[in-house]
Subunit: 219 residues, 2 copies
């Protein structure tokens, strides 16, 4: 194995171990000792990649933006809805995203970098809402900043409740309820009945994934 | 000072100190040593009232229900809206409520008692929504359990965002945005324009407080 490849692998091992520890304990109670023990690497290897617990947490934040790529839909509101379902599905299976959400939501001694998950989500949702507005999907006079804040706030709180009650197993149902309640305040009445507020069918998810991978390979 | 009064005072001092420490550090990073140091009491006094960190946290949860008394309004939706504004105002000034919310929202090693703040809030909001339904305020066919979950989830997430961004200073504005967006999915169109989605005027808040104190004294 080439030296560079070994380096990438050990960095990934540290991030995976750190994600589990941050997800489990939160930032302040997490220790680099436990991260080291879980990663199976030496302290030297850890400090080769990250000079502090803080820099590991910052690296986990960067992974967040990868989960914020909206699937292509002709109706932009459907893109937003399906982005939330895709994000929820990834939260259920990916400890790195879970750790990033926990680091973002909790108030800790972690000094937040400028571009936190809240800012990343705000940018993505606001842009999609603006496209929806241009396509005539949104209610006239809708305040897009307010709408963005409420969508992200509601998602944040519902995933926190779902975590406490069911380890996020019921998150898709909670999201469905969120969209049924929010849509009448967001979109034109005629559009509501055409939007799906349940997770996309498996075939659609597979298409989305293939397209995202092709886009990533091309860039 | 009578012995009983001294006991109540030292218990209150412990709870106030614990609230600050839990609010600042979260459950797992909080230590009884720091709680003791802040309270200025002896370890013996602490263990006289509470046998563990867990039992202190459970006592803070109980304080939560006091913040969930809805102000009386002829329109029940206005009661719910004003309850959220009153809760937000108390969150801004009361470390005990802040600590209780942090303990409720975060996933920690704290074994939750059966009646958590989520359950308390769910009971109160669901009951008020049911009264609103009987008064003909809600949309026909509204699922009250879904509506309750989304209101509590959205509040939970928006206060978490407001905490990170402004130490909860902008929470009333965020709540206003939440209600403007949620109301069209909750209530009959004619009612929307009659509801106030800003914090109640000071005179109304003073009336609410006087009524709550009278009710507490009578019970």
């Amino acid at each position: 194995m080439a030296k560079q490849e070994r380096g990438t692998r050990s960095k990934q091992a540290i991030l995976a171990a750190a994600a589990e520890v941050f997800d489990l304990r939160g930032y302040d109670a997490a220790s680099t000792n436990e991260i080291l023990a879980r990663s199976g690497l030496t302290r030297g290897a850890l400090y080769h990649h990250f000079h502090s617990k803080e820099s590991i947490a910052a690296a986990l934040f960067e992974a967040h933006s990868g989960a914020l790529v909206a699937p292509e839909r002709s109706t932009k509101l459907q893109s937003i809805i399906d982005l939330t379902f895709a994000f929820a599905a990834q939260l259920q299976r990916d400890p790195v995203l879970r750790a990033s959400v926990r680091l973002a939501v909790e108030k800790t001694s972690f000094p937040r970098p400028a571009n936190t998950p809240y800012e990343q989500s705000t940018e993505v949702i606001h842009e999609l809402l603006d496209q929806a507005r241009l396509q005539g999907e949104t209610l006239p006079g809708l305040d897009l900043s307010d709408a963005t804040t409420v969508i992200i706030g509601a998602f944040t709180g519902l995933q926190a409740m779902s975590l406490v009650y069911t380890e996020r197993e019921d998150l898709p149902e909670r999201l469905g309820a969120m969209w049924r309640l929010l849509l009448p305040g967001l979109v034109t009445p005629g559009l509501i009945g055409t939007l799906r507020v349940t997770p996309p069918p498996a075939a659609v998810v597979a298409d989305d994934r293939a397209r995202a991978e092709a886009a990533a390979a091309a860039s």
